[in-house]
Symmetry: D2
Subunit: 385 residues, 4 copies
Amino acid sequence: MIKTPKLVMIPGPTPVTRSIQDQMGRETVAFGDPFFVQDYKDVLADLKELWKCSGEVFVVAGSGTLAMEMAIANITKRGDSVLICSNGYFGDRFIDMCQRKGLEVDVLSAKWGTSVTAEEVEKKLSEKKYDVVTVTHVETSTGAAAPIDAIGKVVKAHGALYVVDGVAASAGAEEYMDPMGIDVLLSCTQKAFGVAPGLAILWASKEAVEKRRSLGTIPESYADFEKWLPVMHDPSKYWGTPAINLVWALKESIRIIKEEGIEERYNRHLRQAALVDAALEAMGFRVAAEKPFRAPTLSVYLYPEGANVNDAEFRTVLAEEGAQTAGCLADFAGKGFRMGHMGNVDKHILVSAVAAVERAAMRCGIDIEPGKGLGVLQKGLAEEH
Amino acid sequence: MIKTPKLVMIPGPTPVTRSIQDQMGRETVAFGDPFFVQDYKDVLADLKELWKCSGEVFVVAGSGTLAMEMAIANITKRGDSVLICSNGYFGDRFIDMCQRKGLEVDVLSAKWGTSVTAEEVEKKLSEKKYDVVTVTHVETSTGAAAPIDAIGKVVKAHGALYVVDGVAASAGAEEYMDPMGIDVLLSCTQKAFGVAPGLAILWASKEAVEKRRSLGTIPESYADFEKWLPVMHDPSKYWGTPAINLVWALKESIRIIKEEGIEERYNRHLRQAALVDAALEAMGFRVAAEKPFRAPTLSVYLYPEGANVNDAEFRTVLAEEGAQTAGCLADFAGKGFRMGHMGNVDKHILVSAVAAVERAAMRCGIDIEPGKGLGVLQKGLAEEH
Amino acid sequence: MIKTPKLVMIPGPTPVTRSIQDQMGRETVAFGDPFFVQDYKDVLADLKELWKCSGEVFVVAGSGTLAMEMAIANITKRGDSVLICSNGYFGDRFIDMCQRKGLEVDVLSAKWGTSVTAEEVEKKLSEKKYDVVTVTHVETSTGAAAPIDAIGKVVKAHGALYVVDGVAASAGAEEYMDPMGIDVLLSCTQKAFGVAPGLAILWASKEAVEKRRSLGTIPESYADFEKWLPVMHDPSKYWGTPAINLVWALKESIRIIKEEGIEERYNRHLRQAALVDAALEAMGFRVAAEKPFRAPTLSVYLYPEGANVNDAEFRTVLAEEGAQTAGCLADFAGKGFRMGHMGNVDKHILVSAVAAVERAAMRCGIDIEPGKGLGVLQKGLAEEH
Amino acid sequence: MIKTPKLVMIPGPTPVTRSIQDQMGRETVAFGDPFFVQDYKDVLADLKELWKCSGEVFVVAGSGTLAMEMAIANITKRGDSVLICSNGYFGDRFIDMCQRKGLEVDVLSAKWGTSVTAEEVEKKLSEKKYDVVTVTHVETSTGAAAPIDAIGKVVKAHGALYVVDGVAASAGAEEYMDPMGIDVLLSCTQKAFGVAPGLAILWASKEAVEKRRSLGTIPESYADFEKWLPVMHDPSKYWGTPAINLVWALKESIRIIKEEGIEERYNRHLRQAALVDAALEAMGFRVAAEKPFRAPTLSVYLYPEGANVNDAEFRTVLAEEGAQTAGCLADFAGKGFRMGHMGNVDKHILVSAVAAVERAAMRCGIDIEPGKGLGVLQKGLAEEH
């Protein structure tokens, strides 16, 4: 058989469509070129409008990891207390970041596969005064989504600043700045935006920007909102050279988002996640995330009970069959795989990915009825038009 | 749902892989540029070797239709008699072409969905002396393949020149010049080669070239072997400007063919044709071509008996679901659709195309068990690695 | 020094801009895809309008050489008499093409570097009745342009059909069908259109189409207007598969032409030809074409008198310096080089090409004042904005 | 005239060649894809070898500004004393960065257009113990290059850590880690590497890495060497998602560097800088940097004395003529423009850029002899082959 291209079904990067690739491949221009300056402006304005943000937005060369640090660095000073709501590996990444900066850290952890709830946060905030609360919207290690809207209401009621890590969620799972009371939403390009990696994206509320201002000089330079604000207000200004081609790619991604409609995009992600989950369950896989917490953007699929699956072999075979997925972490390590179903994924990609899982299962001796899982998916997709 | 890209599943053009697209998109150079001249030479040498041709090969800007005319124009003169073995619409296209050139034409026609056989040709050649016999290797209107090897033996035994139309076959169905006694094999780029349309390809035996020489001046210029031979022997020479980017694209296609191995490529086409046919039969569709004559490169699928399908609507829905197919012709018009499964089609493409047919069937009210046809396909594909 | 890319300064192909390359590199679609059908329609409609043609237009996979044959094949029958006005090698190519088809051929030849004039044609047509007169608009072997408008008036007055070979002219030198009385204008994509090679383009007057109709069946198939007319009227119809990506590339070329304005485009070619000619004259080169006949699209530059230049070496050095040019033919062979300055050539390309000639001249021992020729060019270009 | 594309002649980004663009435009893969992991490894290994670095190298999503902060953050702790050798605006950028981190800062400034010398540094280091000395290799605001080798010897003799900012120099001006005693060399992709912006590049000596280790936990996360080291040793490990397409683009840039030979590349930059400077001087412009300090990668060109040039107008006209340049800063603001001549610039680019300056000068009323400056450039370029 001719070699089957590997679909990028890890939880990011996700499949990058040709029109976005083409923006990446354009001739680079001067960062002060008036046409590029306008493109950058458009990107920033669209991000503010689509995420209902009356504050500020930042698009900076870097990764989601940088975005996490930027979120913390701009709204805290040594000694501030932070409540980290962690649903897994990526939630925990805030701990070290905050401790390094001399913050007092408490962690509210959920069982893997579930999420911290608004009630639990309420309890914590009633017991102690926190300056900042962080939540990971979609936890990439478990496929669990946090109820960010409900938690936001609690955080706001207690007067803390509210940081949401949207890395594995933004542009695929509903996030609105002002309506949800988010103070800093941090994200990046290579997940549900469907762009190549290389840009950090942050939205900041007026309160967050005000907090930054009140801090005076901070030790960080590159991460400093105040250094970037003049550029974000007028991209012809200079602080660090923007990653020009990635900004163009992001612009094309936003065009696609607007064409689809961002609310429909959120709904589509919910529907397609339910379909892919159901398809894999029909094959005997188990979705690691518990029902009310299942993310619309990615899932952890645990191998069928009783099936004696060699994890590394399975994922290698699955990659051969044309779907690159990621191994599980910590509690789930060796027991399943992580698969994204977010961004600009169309019916062909969803069918091809599920079919690849099915063939890998057959090849690895999992007892499966060929076509059964696909039938479940197909039934749902046939209703989508 | 986000828009599903339309896979080009008509019987040509077929899906063009990115590496071939990239050759199309290169900066054009001078046709005398030494690097291009070498590329062109390599293409010609590879085509001769892979098709086991001790004669000549021609790669000329034009379409398969031009290639058909070139085949005839170079080996016939007014008054020559031609036996046209026709299995359908494309076989019949030789009739007018030959009559225009003042040839005496007899037609040996097969029932649609079958092929003229070696025995029938033997009978005809025993009854009358023919200068030329033409056969369409794969008949695009029916999905039937002719037994070109067996017919070749008969034609050679009777001393006629043997023309094979390989348009919907070459690079997907077994064709060897010297071993099969073919005198002119004509083809083009956009079918099993998986290249964009725009090049005519012809292989000619020494006898065919000798026949051309014996004709002296012929009325045609652009189609004249003698005009092109100096160029094919030394592509730095000029007769008409070569379609440079298409030659590069063809070179990349040949690289892919060599990487796969041409014999394995022929075998793969047989296996995948059987799988796609079986998958659609499991959904209730019928393959128009009869069993011994089913082509490895494309099929005509007739709607399930009893299903009250509106042909135009079905194909429109199918295109929406992501597979562009072609309507049927003549006897089969309105009763089904034509679908290619040739060229550089990988597992994702095959699964996506069959899944699109399944969804279209569901949407058009055909009684189908979702996943059943895909299960048949998947079982076969899981064994391919 | 880092390798200098070779500008394609032969008289076609010419430099292909990135936006046209990108059309070549697109994913190929079905030729019946409604979006492609519309693109093809737009191309045909624009070609008719821009060339002021109330008749028909044909865009067919093939080269300019095919276009020449198509022009003849559709408006002549055995025994017709043709007057071929030839200004050089490419004009002469009509002779064999016509003789093969059994036409009675007279040739009116101009001295190399000049053109047949309207007066000479008038004289010929007064002496004998001709069915068809052919003229080569820009003769690629000499850089001479024919006065096609004046000759057209004469031809029309005598009731003959008027064929203009626009291969090295169309889209760079003024050509209007109805106003100039042209019956068949033939061309291709890789010259002043600035597209990769692979398409033949023909415009035909109503009279030409009527003549074709009157001929009944003709021996040629692929070249037959009647076969293509239904497709040109409705590109969803099939005769031969169109070279899809080349049609898109041509569409982008036409967009560029319309953006510039076709009359300004013709004027620009006149101005830039004069500038490049003057620049090379300032270096001591001589323009082979005599003053009133100099083409706006390409020039033959003869080496400075007295300079002992090795032709092959000079052009190799010139290619190293970044300009690929063509050797001269027949009378001019060895005495100079042929250079295009047509199509989508901007100031950078013109300056770079002339600078490359200058450096090659220096390296080959031609006595030259560095910057002198460039100064002439620059003075002119500085006035262009 | 057809629109002239704007060459990116600012001091970065620089012209990105098509082969590098094509790497940017590739389909993004998983960051753990074995082929990408190997590509990333190759990039890192090549950077170490070409820069003669026995320590470590870091390639991280971000800009040169991030690289500056990383350099400081990893080798200093509050209270350390730093000597900043500043030749202009970009040298000064270290001041704020260092002060924010609680460092004790002294600045050794050169007159604009010159550089701090080894002797001056020696004097400073003799007077006071410094933990770190920073030098800007090429100062982008003035076009002056610092004698980094000589300064390195002094710094090493005094036992300080030596930071070199190579942003506008690396891959265009000679830099070797071990031989020059550099402890941290920081750079980015969009200058002499000729890649799009988006990656920070740092080389660190063993001493620098050891210093980082001795600091224990530092407040910064994303900038922390210790977080990245495991990834740089094994790119299949995760800390932040790499900017995959930019890594590929950098790999292609390094391939080009190796093809040219890095020493020849440094020499070429010296030669072409001298040529472009001489060409502009022949037009009456003055090079702002004084003779022994002129950078091989970019120049500040001051308007001819006496010429009454409107700076903004001149640069707008220059952009129209096809060369995008940058305005001057601080002392030079309004008096000239900054132009890069680094990276993958070939003869066509150099000639086109200088010609554009000449035409802009003509159009803006500067008294100039057309072709004179170009003649100077051409004479030099003709000797380059």
